[in-house]
Amino acid sequence: MALSQEQLVDTLSGLALFADLPRPQLEQVAHKMSEESFPEGQRILRQGFSGTGFYVILDGEVAIRIDGSEVARLAKGDFFGEMSVLLGEPPVADVVALRQLHALHLGGPDLEGFLRDHPSVMFRMLKTVAMRLRNASRWRS
């Protein structure tokens, strides 16, 4: 189900990642990113294989699995794929749709420019990655 440009901009304005963006910038984001849907059970990123880009969840839920065991779940407003894109390395986990997933996708090569164009998005991403590092340290113990 594709949203109209206006519905999409409304949805984006409600997501934490884009909360600081004024309307014209939200329209740019909606324009640059493409909507994608995945059925329940689909693996969107595969551990150890090359990354396919950056995803922001609009609706649905995914499980993050490392070697088959679930370490986290992500839902509306959460994002994934940025780490392997920015590091230029294969994903460190599987990301699997737990039910029908509706997401926005940005191709890997476009992410860096996108973040530079939207520093507030970059700053929110930085906070999230810091939180993931805290959580990752916890998994270890």
Binding site: M83, P119, R140
Partner: protein, 142 residues
């Protein structure tokens, strides 16, 4: 002991946190970096406090403690405080000087402002943190 601007810049540029940062970014960091001295036994940061800054040990040493339990020893080149600056969570441990110790310190507010106005530096830091998430995850697996 006064640290020269060159030494400061070299210490900052050498941190894994700021690896690959441009000369301009390092110069901006330098401008907001201060030098603080601690005596043996003095606390540099305390567990439970919300992050006041990022610290880099230049000389001397420190121990990381929670309550009476020692978690790690730190020495010249080691740094701490970067996560609580970014996510503003309380510090998970205290750091106490074990001898006369000199640190470079960047206040939370200054570092956050820099990260907001310097996309290259922020991007660099995201990469650095992401690499550590990856390391932790790999460590978990093996």
């Amino acid at each position: 002991m006064a640290i020269s601007q060159e030494e400061k810049a070299a210490a900052l540029a050498g941190l894994p946190l700021f690896q690959g940062a441009s000369d301009e970014s390092v110069a901006r960091l330098c401008a907001v970096t201060g030098e603080v001295e601690y005596e043996e036994g003095q606390f540099i940061v305390r567990q439970g406090q919300v992050g006041s800054g990022l610290y880099i040990i230049v000389s001397g040493g420190a121990r990381v403690v929670t309550g009476s339990h020692e978690l790690a020893r730190l020495g010249p080149g080691d740094f701490f405080g970067e996560l609580t600056v970014i996510d503003q969570q309380p510090r998970a441990a205290s750091v106490q000087a074990t001898s006369s110790t000199v640190c470079l310190a960047i206040a939370s507010w200054d570092l956050l402002e820099l990260l907001k106005s310097d996309p290259a530096l922020a991007l660099n830091l995201i990469r650095g943190l992401a690499a550590r998430v990856r390391e932790q995850t790999e460590h978990h697996r093996h």
